[in-house]
């Protein structure tokens, strides 16, 4: 074993039903280095780190930490060992102060009761050192003075610029992330794992973070950054390990690689599968976005000036890593999220900021990313779910009434046409009882058979079995043929390549690249999805809404 090696993961294998997430992965870290972990979605990065962090246990393999073999069963064990993790979704309690958040769970007793070792043997210290007193003190006192000082000291040492007595709700995102880091530092971790740390930061904040990490590493802390952003890797890491399809492709010195090299390693040499796609003349414009700006739930801009147009009978594939604004874009296109600037036109009708119902009435259909949360009512029958978008139609009843026979017949049509299995009676079987693939087919049937002008499909084949995936893709093509304009949002590049007429790449809320499957450079796309060498947004669309290949 290399003298320098501090942490070593050896032959880690982890499988979930149907998927090998980590396949004999070995990785080693030197003390004091900043190590990047790169890979596409599904490559196995999260799983590997969750194993390191104690959340999962590997089926096979060993973890060595500073010369000792680790047996971890929970995140608590990992913390005790000295491994800390900063999650993408912060685990902080807004109402409490920074120091209270950091100290929570440690049960530090008040200063008077802190264990004194070998100092004056007074009556007081003898008393306070008994187990009973320690037990009582850890529960019924609150040790905040000393920790507060220590935390403030840590914060100042690393230039965090935090007031540790401030309540967390007053802090901005960048500051909150620093609190998360402090949480780990306070517990004296020697290895810090950060999961997509810059996903919620502005470029300036990201730079600050990297300075901080540099300083921490210089003082001996070992850091792992999970990221997909190539430019950041170049900026801050010493070495990078690339995972693809569950395997470790290699570990390289960052300064010896270009972003292109890294993208190449991520993508490998894949063969695209061949789907027969007819050539179709696209028709009128069904969707036109102009300088669209949309904020996310936190009030931060997620879509920053997107121009886009989609014609009838064309599939526009939107490639990008999850979290770059796709969710907010999709939500604004179906009317459940408002926009802060720009306009949305559906078949030349301006529907910007109209309620969802207007979008539905104007022929917009939606296949959501989270089908259980937003796509169906799991406790209601298949029939109830089948008519979710069309229940207002006069075909299903006059005035106030609902014609259940018509609804049932319609539901059965959907089930039959889209081969939804597991339903013997549309009124009896609930949506929650269907398997992932069958539920998705039902949802697709519902969204497609109403002959929409525009179909927005967000990750339509995620979590679906192979047979259903094929079916769904064929159906998308069929829908295209019948004249619907489709926006296909997907993290699966194969899917994007197979189905799209045009491909757009979204990164940090902007469209950064546009091409077609024929003239595309797979590596270039992957590069752009991850920040690229020059992640420049495209010039805006020509006034007539058309595109010219760039």
């Amino acid at each position: 074993m290399d003298q320098d090696t501090f942490v070593r993961m050896k032959d880690i294998t982890k499988t979930f039903p149907g998927v090998v997430a980590n396949d004999d992965v070995s990785m080693s870290l030197r003390r004091g280095e900043i190590h990047g972990l790169l890979g596409e979605n599904g490559a196995g990065k999260s799983t590997l780190m969750k194993i390191l962090y104690g959340l999962y246990s590997a089926d096979k393999g060993e973890i060595w930490f500073d010369g000792e073999r680790l047996q971890m069963e929970s995140p608590q064990d990992a913390i005790d060992t000295g491994i800390g993790m900063v999650h993408q979704h912060f685990k902080l309690i807004p109402r409490l102060s920074v120091s209270k958040n950091i100290v929570l769970g440690k049960r530090e007793p008040a200063t008077v009761f802190t264990r004194t070792e070998g100092s004056e043997e007074g009556v007081l210290s003898t008393l306070t050192n008994t187990r009973l007193m320690q037990w009582l003190a850890s529960r019924f006192t609150l040790g905040l003075d000393e920790p507060r000082q220590k935390i403030q000291q840590l914060s100042d040492d690393y230039g965090f610029d935090l007031d540790v007595t401030a309540p967390v709700w007053e802090l901005g995102v960048g500051e909150r992330q620093r609190v998360e880091i402090l949480k780990a530092l306070y517990r004296d971790v020697e290895l810090l794992i950060l999961d997509e740390p810059t996903a919620v930061l502005t470029p300036t904040q990201a730079d600050r973070l990297f300075e901080t990490l540099r300083r921490l590493a210089d003082k001996g802390l070992t850091v792992i950054i999970i990221t997909h952003k190539l430019d950041e890797l170049k900026q801050v890491t010493d070495r990078v390990t690339v995972l693809r399809d569950g395997k470790n492709i290699g570990t390289v010195e960052t300064n010896e690689q270009t972003p292109g090299d890294l993208a190449h390693m991520m993508v490998g040499r894949d063969v695209l599968f061949d789907i027969d796609k007819d050539d179709i003349e696209s028709g009128k414009t069904v969707l036109n976005l102009s300088a669209l700006h949309v904020e996310n739930d936190r009030g931060i801009e997620a879509v920053s000036g997107v121009d886009m147009s989609i014609k009838a009978g064309e599939i526009v594939g939107l490639a990008g890593v999850s979290g770059n604004g796709q969710k907010e874009l999709a939500e604004s296109l179906v009317g459940v999220r408002g926009t802060t600037a720009g306009s949305i036109r559906v078949t030349s009708k301006d529907v910007t900021n109209e309620p969802c119902r207007t979008f539905i009435d104007n022929g917009v259909s939606f296949v959501p990313e989270d089908r259980h949360q937003n796509g169906c009512a799991a406790t209601l029958s298949a029939m109830h779910n089948a008519v979710m978008k069309r229940y207002r139609d006069s075909a299903f009843g006059e005035r106030f009434q609902l014609n259940y026979e018509a609804m049932e017949a319609y539901a059965e049509t959907l089930v039959e046409e889209f081969d939804v299995r597991g339903i013997n009676d549309v009124q009896e079987v609930t949506a929650g009882e269907l398997s992932g693939g069958n539920l998705q087919k039902l949802i697709l049937a519902r969204e497609m058979l109403r002959e929409p002008k525009l179909l927005v499909a967000n990750q339509p084949t995620r979590g679906v079995d192979v047979g259903a995936i094929e079916f769904i893709r064929e159906r998308l093509l069929k829908q295209r043929k019948s004249g619907t304009g489709i926006l296909l949002i997907s993290e699966d590049l194969n899917e994007i390549f197979d189905l799209s007429d045009r491909i757009l790449v979204i990164y940090e809320g902007e469209i950064v690249h546009e091409t077609t499957p024929e003239s595309a450079d797979r590596q270039r796309i992957s590069l752009e999805m991850n920040g690229g060498e020059q992640a420049q947004p495209l010039a805006s669309v020509a006034a007539d809404g058309g595109w010219s290949d760039i």
């Binding site: 039903p17 009317g335 969802c356 009435d361 949360q373 937003n374 169906c376 609902l402 398997s435």
Partner: protein, 368 residues
Amino acid sequence: MELNIELTPRTDIPNWLIYLTPVFTVVAALFVSGIALIALGVNPLQAYNTMFIQTVTTPFGITNTLEKGVPLIFAGLAVYLPLKAKLWNIGAEGQLVVGAIVGTAIGLQVSLPIYALLPLMIVAGGAAGAAWIAIPALLRAKYGINEIITTLLFVFVAQSLLNYVVRGPLRASGANFPQSESLPAAATLPGIPRLGDVPLGLLLAIALVVVTYGIINYTRLGYEITFIGANDSAAEYAGMSKLKVYLIVLMAGGAMAGFAGVSELSGVQGRLRASFDPGYGFTAVPIALLGRNGAFKVMLAALLFAVIFVGGSSIETVFGVPSAITSVIEALIILFLITAEFFKQYRIDVSIDGSYSTSASGSPEGDL
């Protein structure tokens, strides 16, 4: 020997569990209450005989039950309808009282023949109930403020209002107790002689049950209510207006509670007393829970409780046991209901020494 208990969430609920649950809860509640009866030296079997058998086999018992059933049905619906949209109208009690107050005021002060006066009272009572829930409904629909707390606060205001009215503006002259005058005959819900004296109110209640059932199961509004109650985020994606549905459903619930108040006033008590409040607003909660699956089941549950209430007073007369036993039974029914809810949601597998005995509910292939 190792005892292992594993809980797995159910993906579907076996039918036998759905049908047996109401039966089980009532039986269990009676069983435990029986213990309390024994503690007071009463034979539970005899007591239950009086409470149930006598009540439904004597004409007096039947009429009484049907009379008491009317406000209970209305109150049950008042909680049932909002519950369909996952809202709790805990304030049915207050809306009921306010409906009765308005009903009394009109019944005593407006002189119209019965076929005009009664409808006026009923409509006014309903309007009063709806008005009483209006503020909590708005606060919930627009600001998401928990309707449990707000409607509850209004209950206590209503009770004080009742106290005030009965000692002040509506007080009967020269009465020793705080109460209003008796309602004139024109303001009293009569029995229908041709139908064996079945209370007119009962027909109204049944009509409302049918209407509610129809709305929930046959109209677009009912579809929206059910959908929003099942998944309110997906409902947004379906273009439904949560604001509109919440307001409609809560105000309708308030109106129905108002009806309950008027029917209790006009059909049972005959005048407004300080002790008017029969607690039906709270009883409506287990009624709505028992009848969760349909308006007709709500009606049956209401009638069951009517039997329990009537039976409870007869136990008091016959055995000298406080009629508060009915509150105990009521509470126990709720207790066993919520315990049963748990069993409906989770499957329990008990194993000894690592070998599992699983129950027969199948589960579909999971998502990948």
